[in-house]
Each structure stands twice: as structure tokens, then as C-alpha cells.
């Protein structure tokens, strides 16, 4: 749709829904995305031709819809997804960013990658096998990442004779463990990704199902913004100091550039600069398009401050209400993504916002048992694809929020020293203490 038409006709901004597929290997995730693109007429002629060409070689004449997202040679050879593929499409009602993630347990790290930016996850289950450990693992990860909406797609209904009883049985398997995961909005849809039943068009085989098709649901589900507008946070990415500016007014320009990770900031507002803990005032909110009076999460801005304070990359500028926590002792839920296990005593780099610090693991509190979705206390280690709660000690204090309050200031990754591998995704538990003023400043 041309932007000109949009701008004049509708003042309401376009809505983007980001969603991902998950579920066990071969449950039909890539086929579903292919079907969704195909039936919603989102494919171009050359893409359809390419599909048909590859069908002649490998598919015995049948086109393979999964080939649309399984873009790597190794994926097409093995018929599995190895890494996330991103696809973009739009209907007149919404724009969509799709992440098709792999189901194979070996590539769980890539599933976490695709799911971490989603507003909605589609969990596929093969109607013949029902819920298995990998279905529970992916559901648990979606819950841990706090993805607000889930769709459980009970797929391959064509292979179970479109049985409503089977649909209800699998739905009951989910409903048995969902309460343990704190997931609120779940929709169950019976479908056949292969044949297109209930994907874009309603199926004639499921008269007993009265709900929406998948696309109908994706177009209408209400998505609230991910962004937290309470509690101003600006992690400083880069200090903006022009070298030899020709413009004399820029001689003493010193700005702090970053993306607002929470709340709203206004000129004249008081803020605290951490780690110095000193209170100052916002003199100007500089942007390329001119100074603004007010800016909000997730805009990228450059702040000019009243006082000269030691602020550099990794510093955090914070508003005076809704104060964050600060500590060197941290507790977090982690999803472990590396073959070398996490063990107490090991050291890693932790990247939180724009700040990288050394940490050591002081304790593994528990590990999620994927058979029962209960926590087993005090395991010796967390192995690859395990989920658990850990305690860390950081070399320098972190200024943070709980992940449930703010995704951007409550998340971190762990990096292995030496190999630089990204080994864990972490979600911080709420801080035990909030920063407090001492003689006007907030010393941490």
C-alpha cells in the first residue's frame, strides 16, 4: 500500500505483529508458514516458480511449502529447519514479521533467538503424537520469555480423520500443564498445514470447530505494546562529542546517545546518572530532525545534560520515579544454550543493556523438569537446553529492573570467555532493593 495513500486516509499507524512458530521437529512449522504465505497470496510469481522448479527435482511433482523458509542447502537436503528464517508479509489489516524457528532440540538456541522478539507464538503439535517433551520445552520457553499470546496449532488433523475427540484430548494435555506456566491468552486451532485447512480459509472438515482461522486470529488479536512507558531508562550507547566542529555552537557539545529502554523523558526533567549516582537535569533532547521537548521508549535520542558528570558507554540515565534496583548479587532465570554446561564457580561476561561486566556463578537454585514442569532444586549443573534459576555475582553493580517489568532492562546474555560464544539468555528476577538517595545523591 503506498504510504501517501495511508498517510492521507488513515491517521492510525500500521500495526506490526511479530510471531514465531515453535514445536517439535516435523510438526509442520515451515509447511504452515509456506501455506500461510501461499494462501494469503503473499508470494510473488518468481517465488512460486522457484518452488515448482525444486518440486520437479526432489518432490516428485509435489511442491514443498517448507522450502520457502528452509533456505539453506543443508536444510533442504535434510528436510529440517536448522536456523530461524524471517519472512515479511502484510494483509490490509496488519503487517507481520514471521520467525520460522527449528523444532530440533539441538537447535533450541535458534528457537530462543526467533522467539525473543515475538508478540505471539504458534506452538504446533502433530495430532498423531500429541504433546511431547519438546512441545513442553518450547511452551516453557515462550512462557519464560513472557510472550503474551499463544496459539496452539493442532496440526496434521488430516491424519487423524479430523477427529474432534483427538483435538479435545490434546487440548486437555495442554490445559493440564499451562497453569504452571503463567500463560494467559491461549487459542487452540485444529488444522492441516499441508492442505490449508483453517490456515487462511476455514476447513470443511471441522464443522465442530467454530473459532477463527489462524490468519483471522493473527489479524484481529489485540496486541498491547511491549514497551514500558513507566520509569525512564536510557542505557548510554555512545558519547556524542563532535571533533573540531565548524559550527561554533557545537564546540562544547557533549551528548549521550542511546535508545530509551523505558518511560518518557522531557527537557528540564531531573534524572540520575548511574553509576555515578548524581542527579542532573536534561538540558536538551537532540535528534537529527531537530530538538524535541519529549521522547519515549523505544525512540533513539541524544541527551544533553546540565552538569558535567562522568558518563560513558554502559552508564544508565534514570528518571526519579519508578527507581530501578542495583546490586552485584543477581538472581535470574536462564536458558542454557551451550554444550559446555553451566556450573557453579564459572566466570562469564554478562551483557546487560549496553554494559558488559564479568560475573561468576554462585549457585544453581533449580532446574525445570520438562516432564513435570516442576522445578528440581539444586542441580549440579545446567546442560544444553536446560532452563533454571541461578545466582550470579557481578564485578560491578548492575542497574536493572525485573524482566517482568521491563524486557529491555531486565534481560541479559552470558558470553563465554575465550570463545566468545553466547551461552545463555537470562531474565532477571525483581531487584531485592531499590536504589535510595543518600544526601541527595544515589550512591551505588
Amino acid at each position: 500500500m503506498p504510504l501517501t495513500a495511508l498517510a492521507s486516509a488513515t491517521p492510525v499507524p500500521v500495526d506490526i505483529l511479530r510471531f514465531n512458530t515453535c514445536g517439535s521437529v516435523d510438526d509442520g512449522k515451515s509447511t504452515l508458514i509456506g501455506r500461510l504465505l501461499y494462501d494469503s497470496k503473499s508470494l510473488m510469481e518468481d517465488q512460486i516458480e522457484a518452488l515448482e522448479r525444486s518440486a520437479d527435482i526432489t518432490g516428485g511433482g509435489q511442491i514443498n511449502l517448507a522450502n520457502l523458509t528452509d533456505g539453506l542447502r543443508a536444510e533442504r537436503e535434510q528436510g529440517i529447519t536448522i536456523d530461524v528464517a524471517y519472512r515479511y508479509f502484510a494483509t490490509p489489516r496488519r503487517k507481520f514479521i514471521i520467525a520460522d524457528t527449528p523444532g530440533h532440540v539441538q537447535y533450541t538456541r535458534n528457537m530462543v533467538t526467533g522467539a525473543s522478539s515475538a508478540n505471539l507464538s504458534i506452538i504446533l503439535v502433530d495430532a498423531r503424537t500429541g504433546v511431547i517433551e519438546q512441545s513442553r520445552r518450547h511452551t516453557a520457553i515462550a512462557a519464560l520469555l513472557r510472550i503474551p499470546h499463544l496459539v496452539v496449532a493442532i496440526n496434521k488433523m488430516d491424519l487423524v480423520g479430523w477427529s474432534e475427540a483427538r483435538f479435545l484430548e490434546i487440548r486437555a494435555q495442554f490445559e493440564e500443564f499451562l497453569p504452571r506456566l503463567d500463560i494467559k491468552d491461549v487459542k487452540f486451532i485444529p488444522m492441516s498445514a499441508l492442505n490449508g485447512d483453517n490456515v487462511v480459509d476455514a476447513s470443511v472438515h471441522t464443522p465442530w470447530y467454530v473459532g477463527p482461522t489462524l490468519l483471522g486470529h493473527l489479524e484481529t488479536v489485540h496486541i498491547a505494546s511491549d514497551w514500558n512507558l513507566n520509569g525512564f531508562r536510557l542505557p548510554v550507547q555512545w558519547v556524542n562529542r563532535p571533533n573540531n566542529p565548524t559550527d561554533a555552537s557545537l564546540h562544547d557539545f557533549r551528548g549521550f546517545s542511546g535508545q530509551i529502554a523505558g518511560g518518557i523523558v522531557r527537557t528540564g526533567q531531573k534524572i540520575i546518572a548511574f553509576p555515578a549516582g548524581i542527579v542532573t537535569t536534561v538540558k536538551q533532547i537532540w535528534t537529527y530532525d531537530g530538538p524535541v521537548e519529549e521522547a519515549f521508549c523505544p525512540q533513539s535520542v541524544t541527551l544533553v545534560l546540565e552538569h558535567d558528570i562522568d558518563i560513558s558507554r554502559g552508564s544508565m540515565l534514570v528518571g526519579l520515579d519508578h527507581l530501578p534496583g542495583s546490586n552485584t548479587e543477581l538472581q535470574a532465570e536462564v536458558c542454557w544454550m551451550h554444550a559446555r554446561p553451566l556450573q557453579p564457580g564459572k566466570r562469564y561476561f554478562l551483557k546487560h543493556t549496553t554494559h558488559t561486566v564479568q560475573v561468576s556463578v554462585t549457585e544453581i537454585v533449580n532446574k525445570l523438569n520438562l516432564a513435570t514442569l516442576e522445578s528440581d532444586p539444586a542441580p549440579a549443573e545446567l546442560g544444553v537446553n536446560d532452563i533454571g534459576e541461578i545466582r550470579l555475582r557481578a564485578a560491578k553493580p548492575l542497574v536493572f529492573d525485573g524482566y517482568a517489568i521491563n524486557r529491555l532492562t531486565g534481560s541479559f546474555i552470558l558470553i563465554e570467555q575465550g570463545t566468545n560464544a553466547t551461552v545463555a539468555a537470562g531474565m532477571l528476577c525483581p531487584p531485592r532493593e531499590i536504589v535510595k538517595p543518600e544526601n541527595g545523591d544515589y550512591v551505588i
Binding site: 533467538t113 555512545w238 546517545s257 524486557r407 546474555i413 539468555a425
Partner: protein, 300 residues
């Protein structure tokens, strides 16, 4: 609350600016790959938004295949100068002369040869990061790539072993000799790029707009007639009103018949298009995995 709402282009913009600044914060010697094409034109505006009022904290780098459209190079040089940016150009010609790149017998395309040329430039200037304008919607191997795409000390991409990339926390840590390619507009579509060009009122090379040009019918597309693409006796040549939708080398870029003379016309044309932008590039059609293979070898 509606005043605290970003539209989809503003979302894409703030995501890209954040990535640009992460590059400036995490790397010692970054470069920005600037070809003069529409995607890298957007990159340059995003860099201005990320770093002004300072100078851009990285030079611009272009690998000149020697088969560029002249309009493209003219635009590239002029735009770099307007910005006050430092532009480094390394040519395939030169790389061949120095023995860095070795054409196969009869190899006319510079597609493969730009890879060693780029890798040599990275080594020469010890760049630890190159920002590029690739988008995931262009091609299915691109659709698999991270924002921060790790390359080993041979410049190779290992698609089976990419670093997890979670939330907006990018791991830019490298060991000596390793390299990062960073793609801030990964999530942009062709439509987003043109809408952004329109919103920001950005100049683009003239060949994106409709013009008269003699074209020769070859391999199902209209190639521009020029010294490198002389028509053969049996081939059909016509003077057409065309534009290019994506700019590759002058020997492989198909022209599309189009009356589009403004950015608005182009946006309307793309909205109605039935083929993808890469549908007009011969270099990606050669095999199902052409792009994947080039990226594994060190292509952007």
C-alpha cells in the same frame, strides 16, 4: 496514549539506529559499505541520525567491480562528499593486477572476484566490522542471517553455527582476525526502503527512475546495451522506457519497463508488483544456493 506510538517505519528506524550505535560502541575499526544503491542510501541517513552532530565514526567502503553503472559511481562519490565522509574505494581490477583475485578462464562476471577484493580491503585497513545494507526479504539465505553476522578469520559465514541473538543484546566480541558483518536494516522490506526514501526525501541515482535506454533481450530479461554487453547478431534490441529495480553489475542487471518518475510512482509500482526485486538479477538465479555459497565464501 496514542501520542506515544511509533509507526512501523519509526520502529524500523529506531531499531537500525540502535544497531549502528552498538557498532560504534563495540568495535575499534568499523566501516560502512556504501555502494550508492537504495539500501545503502538508507544506511547513510540512519548513520546521520545515529551520530550527528558528530562526524560519522567510520569510513565508507566500496568494492568497485569495474562493471558498475556510471550513474551509480557518480552518485556514490557525490553523496560521500556531501556528507563529509571518508570514502575508500577498492577495485576488482586492482585486485586482479595484484594477484589478490584470480579470474577463472573466460570468467566475465565480477561477482565472485569482489569477495577477495573485499577481504583484502578488510585486511588492509584492519576493519573489525563492516555495516551492510542487506535485507532478509531479499533472498532466502539472507532470511537466515543475524543482525550481527560473525565471520571467521577467512571471512566465512557458517550458517549452521550462528551465534544466538536474543532481544536486542548483540554479542560483538571477536578474537584477532575475526570479523563482524552488521545489517541494521535486516527487517526492512523493499517497500519499507522506498517509503523511507520518500519520508526522508532522499536523493537516489537517476537509473532508479524511468529513462530511455537501448536494451537487449537475453536470458528472459532486458539488459542495458553497453560496451560490456554488446548485442549479438541474432538478439533483439529495442529502445525502451525502463528503470532498474535493484542495482547489480551492468552486465547482469535486468531493466524493467516502467513509467515511474517519482518515488511515489515507484511505491505504487512495488505495491502492484508480481515478482520480487531479485527476480531481475541474474547473479542469484544461477542456482538455488547461489547466495548462500557466496556468503559462505565471504560475500556481504
Amino acid at each position: 496514549m496514542s501520542s506515544y506510538h511509533l509507526d512501523h517505519l519509526q520502529h524500523l528506524e529506531t531499531e537500525a539506529i540502535h544497531i549502528m550505535r552498538e557498532v560504534a560502541g563495540e568495535f575499534e575499526r568499523p566501516a560502512l559499505l556504501f555502494s550508492g544503491g537504495k539500501d545503502s542510501i538508507c544506511l547513510l541517513r540512519l548513520a546521520e541520525k545515529a551520530f550527528r552532530p558528530s562526524d560519522l565514526p567510520m569510513p565508507l567502503l566500496n568494492v568497485d567491480t569495474g562493471h558498475h553503472f556510471p550513474e551509480l559511481n557518480e552518485f556514490r562519490d557525490r553523496r560521500a562528499q556531501q556528507l563529509g565522509g571518508k570514502l575508500i574505494v577498492r577495485t576488482v581490477e586492482d585486485a586482479i593486477a595484484k594477484g589478490i583475485a584470480q579470474p577463472a578462464p573466460g570468467e566475465i562476471s565480477r561477482n565472485r572476484l569482489q569477495i577477495p577484493t573485499l577481504l583484502a580491503a578488510i585486511e588492509e585497513f584492519r576493519f573489525d566490522c563492516c555495516i551492510g545494507g542487506a535485507r532478509r526479504d531479499e533472498e532466502k539465505a539472507r532470511a537466515k542471517e543475524r543482525f550481527f553476522s560473525f565471520r571467521d578469520s577467512f571471512g566465512q559465514w557458517d550458517p549452521k553455527n550462528q551465534r544466538p541473538e536474543i532481544w536486542n543484546l548483540y554479542n560483538g566480541r571477536l578474537n584477532p582476525g575475526e570479523n563482524m558483518r552488521v545489517f541494521p536494516i535486516s527487517n526492512w522490506t523493499e517497500m519499507d526502503v522506498w517509503e523511507y526514501i520518500q519520508r526522508e526525501n532522499l536523493e537516489v541515482p537517476s537509473i532508479y527512475f524511468s529513462h530511455k535506454r537501448p536494451c537487449v533481450r537475453r536470458g528472459g530479461q532486458w539488459l542495458p546495451v553497453n560496451a560490456l554487453v554488446p548485442p549479438k547478431a541474432h538478439e533483439e534490441v529495442r529502445e525502451l522506457v525502463v528503470r532498474v529495480r535493484t542495482i547489480g553489475d551492468i552486465i547482469s542487471t535486468g531493466c524493467v519497463e516502467s513509467p515511474a518518475t517519482t518515488t511515489g510512482d515507484i511505491i505504487a509500482e512495488i505495491a502492484a508488483a508480481r515478482v520480487t526485486e531479485r527476480g531481475s538479477r541474474a547473479d542469484d538465479k544461477s542456482s538455488e544456493a547461489a547466495m548462500e555459497d557466496r556468503k559462505k565464501a565471504g560475500y556481504f
